[in-house]
């Protein structure tokens, strides 16, 4: 009688241990799977890159040569007067912006299987005022983007309105 009772206790105890283990394993699984969900880390390096990028002198003069515009001015012009052409190339400002962006990003953030960075996404949007819907100006991406990336953004004052031009860059790792 006493032996049977002891065996029942042991079985009960084993069942409890198994149940607790399963619950903890499920919780652990949830935590790990959460870890694999989108992870975005704000990067000062990206902010410094964007700040330096808008200050970079282009090869496009908007008024006269050799008074070449900065990339920030090119972005502004692409938004406000996309029909305007660069001097001396006669290329449209938005087309010039896209080709320059491609070159700058390729030189600064090489991506691919052999590099630590697997891809990037750059967006330039016009935001009329805070919390309002942004209007995309251009998007640029390269490589493969997983759920883990470094990101930051830089705001430029749009010269003819009260809005901002927001440049955001995600570097996928």
């Amino acid at each position: 009688m006493i032996r049977k009772k002891g065996q029942e206790e042991i079985v009960g105890f084993v069942v409890i241990v198994v149940i607790v283990s399963v619950i903890i394993a499920i919780l652990l699984g949830i935590v790990i799977s959460k870890d694999k969900s989108e992870v975005s880390v704000e990067s000062e390096e990206i902010y410094q890159f964007l700040e330096s990028f808008v200050q970079t002198t282009s090869k496009c003069a908007l008024t006269f040569e050799p008074d070449y515009a900065t990339m920030g001015e090119i972005i502004n012009e692409c938004y406000s007067d996309s029909g305007k052409s660069c001097s001396p190339s006669n290329e449209k400002v938005c087309s010039y912006l896209n080709s320059s962006l491609k070159e700058i990003l390729e030189d600064s953030w090489p991506v691919g299987k052999e590099y630590s960075n697997k891809g990037y996404i750059m967006n330039i949007d016009y935001v009329p005022k805070e919390d309002s819907i942004s209007q995309p100006i251009t998007t640029f991406f390269e490589g493969n983007c997983s759920l883990q990336y470094l990101q930051n953004e830089y705001s430029l004052r749009e010269s003819k309105s009260k809005g901002n031009l927001e440049i955001s860059l995600k570097i996928c790792v």
Partner: protein, 167 residues
Amino acid sequence: MNYWINKGQMKIQQMAFVLVAIMIFFVLVGLLFITLRVGALNKSAQNLKDDAAKEIVKRLANTPEFIWSDCPGCVDVDKAIVLKAHAQEYEDLWKLDYLAFEFVYPSRNKSECDLVNYPECSTITLIKDSGEYGVANSAYVSLCYWDKDGYNKCELGKIYASGKGIK
């Protein structure tokens, strides 16, 4: 007698199960801790890199020897190339083993700058100690100079620094 032997075996079995349960519990807690710690480690590694990058730009780009008055955080490379000949004298002030500026965009042929080939060159190395200086910290910066037409020109560049002054 048989009853006492059975009871003793039962106690041993119970203790064995408790030990197993405790082990499972600690292993699971350990796994949970490691998972959380690795996630936090990624973020703190990024924070360390960011701090170093901020420190470099703050410390060097805003010193009178390099400051470009038209924009904050920009480096006057005209000053840097002149300073190159006297950089060793500043080593104690900056406490650096390595300091260099590199033009990133527009891309140039890889060559060290001197007073003859400047600005048609890619790197200005101001300090390079013969000893080991490890991996230099880097940060993006605008490298500005006056072009031959008298207009200022800024290019995307990088500043590299290593030494006791940058931690």
